[in-house]
């Protein structure tokens, strides 16, 4: 009994510590004061400002959000395509070649962001490519694809190879068998790979920072960085953080409930 109480208390204390800054930001997103920690009465003005873009540099914040989402979407889509095709290839490789390719696939995951960022920066300088949207997306594909490969590969090993062969024996062309048999089997891995890639891209700061060039391209991360370095956080970032926090929370709750349902229906069989 005592043990359980101590354990519970410890967990909740740690969670309290972990969430204190986020809750703090959320509370102060409902007041107008430009200085954080100074409560000047309840107000939703920061929220309306955020959505109408009615603040200093408001349009640049909105375009940073737009860039972030667009880059993440494009990078995740390409990574999923490239990673799935690659996983099918890797699955059919053997021995040393397979190990070699898997080792290559691990490199971007082991490398800290700053190494990926600096090395790609040097690549674009070396090749004389002017940096901007395209280089940022290419860089994001580079560090996202390994996660797609790792999400799809287990689905290939779990899959019964005879199903695919059977489809071919029954007269399906390879492309039909691919669409009707292989892809449906791989879909869960592709979906979680896509989600992983998408969130990795959303979260990225260092790689974007080094590959965005000097054309003034900002994602949310680089916007926040520049903003904070200018001294003081734009107050409208508080409601934005609160909203992102809520969206992530809701998404994770949905995913969790869905997973629990799936595992329950499986154990019920």
């Amino acid at each position: 009994m005592m043990k359980k109480f101590v354990a519970k208390a410890y967990i909740w204390l740690l969670l309290l510590m972990l969430y204190a800054p986020l809750v703090f930001i959320a509370v102060f997103s409902f007041t107008e004061s430009r200085v954080l920690g100074n409560w000047t009465g309840f107000s939703t003005k920061l929220y309306t400002n955020l959505f109408s873009g009615g603040m200093n540099g408001g349009s640049s914040l909105l375009s940073a959000i737009e860039n972030t989402l667009l880059i993440a979407l494009i990078a995740a889509a390409f990574s999923t395509l490239l990673g799935t095709v690659a996983a099918i290839g890797i699955h059919n490789l053997k021995g040393r070649t397979k190990q070699g390719v898997q080792f290559l696939n691990n490199i971007p995951m082991i490398n800290p962001d700053i190494i990926t960022g600096v090395s790609l920066f040097l690549l674009f300088v070396f090749l004389g490519v002017s940096q901007g949207y395209v280089t940022v997306i290419l860089a994001h594909i580079t560090f996202c694809t390994p996660y797609v490969v790792l999400s799809v590969l287990p689905k290939l090993t779990q899959m019964n190879p005879n199903i695919y062969e059977a489809a071919l024996d029954l007269g399906a062309t390879p492309s039909v068998a691919l669409r009707k048999v292989l892809i449906p089997e791989l879909r869960p891995g592709m979906v979680s790979g896509f989600i992983l890639a998408f969130t990795m891209s959303l979260d990225d700061f260092a790689v974007t920072f080094f590959t965005r060039g000097t054309i003034g391209l900002d994602t949310l991360s680089t916007y926040i960085y520049t903003d904070a370095r200018k001294g003081g956080l734009t107050p409208e970032l508080r409601p934005l953080m609160t909203l992102i926090f809520l969206i992530v929370l809701i998404l994770l709750v949905i995913i969790n409930i869905r997973q629990e349902k799936i595992s329950k229906s499986k154990s019920g069989k």
């Binding site: 354990a7 099918i88 996660y147 929370l249 709750v253």
Partner: protein
């Protein structure tokens, strides 16, 4: 019909251009002077420059302290979360993982602002606290993962053979969960050394970590010295990942 194994070819080519070549370029730029001649000056400059060396030493120190605190605070949490008698809810586990999904810069900024309001002077103390905030989920998650996947019969066997719960914990559970701890350290240690924005926010630019000086050199067009610093970091990564090879998969698999 094309052989299926060839399907890996586009990705291999892609990686050659965007992973291997860039790393080669780091080494190349590190070993060149501004006009493209071979030189070791950039590397030797690091070892003779007391500023760079002390920043490097401080980064390693902070990274070790951060990893240790994360293990100290995170291991008990992971153990409690993985224990079926103490925790049955998936929601608490999710709450610990969730911060990993929120932009690190935002969380760090929120932490720094909270410190500011509470009247703490930003410095090494707040840097360490903030780092622990940022990285503890990355320690808890892999440990939790190995603990839940662990075969319970080992612990039961030890119990049956008369070991006290304390002994079971230290002699069975802890050794078996070491892969989780190692991948946790991997996810905490190198990112701490290489971070730049986080340390700037948490100390108001007072304390520089290794990542910051790489960034400063690259951004002020001192590519060769910046590359040399990145090269030194690469060497360390190579060394740390050598004895971490086998633990990689447990850390990355199944984040969702």
């Amino acid at each position: 019909m094309i052989k299926r194994s060839y399907w890996s070819l586009p990705y291999v080519i892609f990686m050659m251009v965007f992973v291997v070549l860039p790393l080669v370029l780091i080494v190349m730029y590190a070993l060149q002077d501004g006009s493209g001649h071979f030189t070791l000056a950039n590397v030797t400059r690091f070892f003779t420059d007391s500023d760079s060396l002390s920043t490097f030493a401080l980064s390693i120190e902070v990274a070790i302290e951060n990893s240790l605190i994360c293990i100290l605070l995170g291991y008990p949490a992971a153990w409690i979360l993985a224990n079926r008698e103490l925790n049955r809810s998936a929601v608490t586990v999710m709450l610990f993982i969730m911060p990993m999904w929120i932009n690190a810069l935002m969380r760090t900024l929120a932490t720094a602002e909270l410190f500011n309001m509470l009247g703490f002077t930003l410095g090494k103390g707040t840097l360490l606290f903030g780092m622990v905030y940022d990285y503890i989920p990355f320690m808890i998650y892999p440990i939790y993962n190995t603990l839940t996947k662990m075969d319970k019969s080992y612990a039961e066997a030890a119990e049956d053979l008369g070991a006290t719960p304390w002994k079971v914990f230290w002699k069975v559970t802890v050794p078996l969960s070491m892969p989780g701890v190692m991948s946790g350290v991997l996810m905490v240690f190198m990112p701490t050394v290489s971070t730049f924005a986080i340390s700037e926010f948490l100390t108001n630019n007072k304390i520089k970590l290794f990542g910051t000086i790489i960034q400063e050199n690259i951004n002020s067009s001192m590519w060769n010295y910046g590359a040399a610093l990145a090269f030194i970091m690469l060497v360390i990564i190579g060394i740390t990942s050598l004895f971490n090879d086998s633990t990689q998969e447990s850390a990355e698999g199944g984040l969702i």
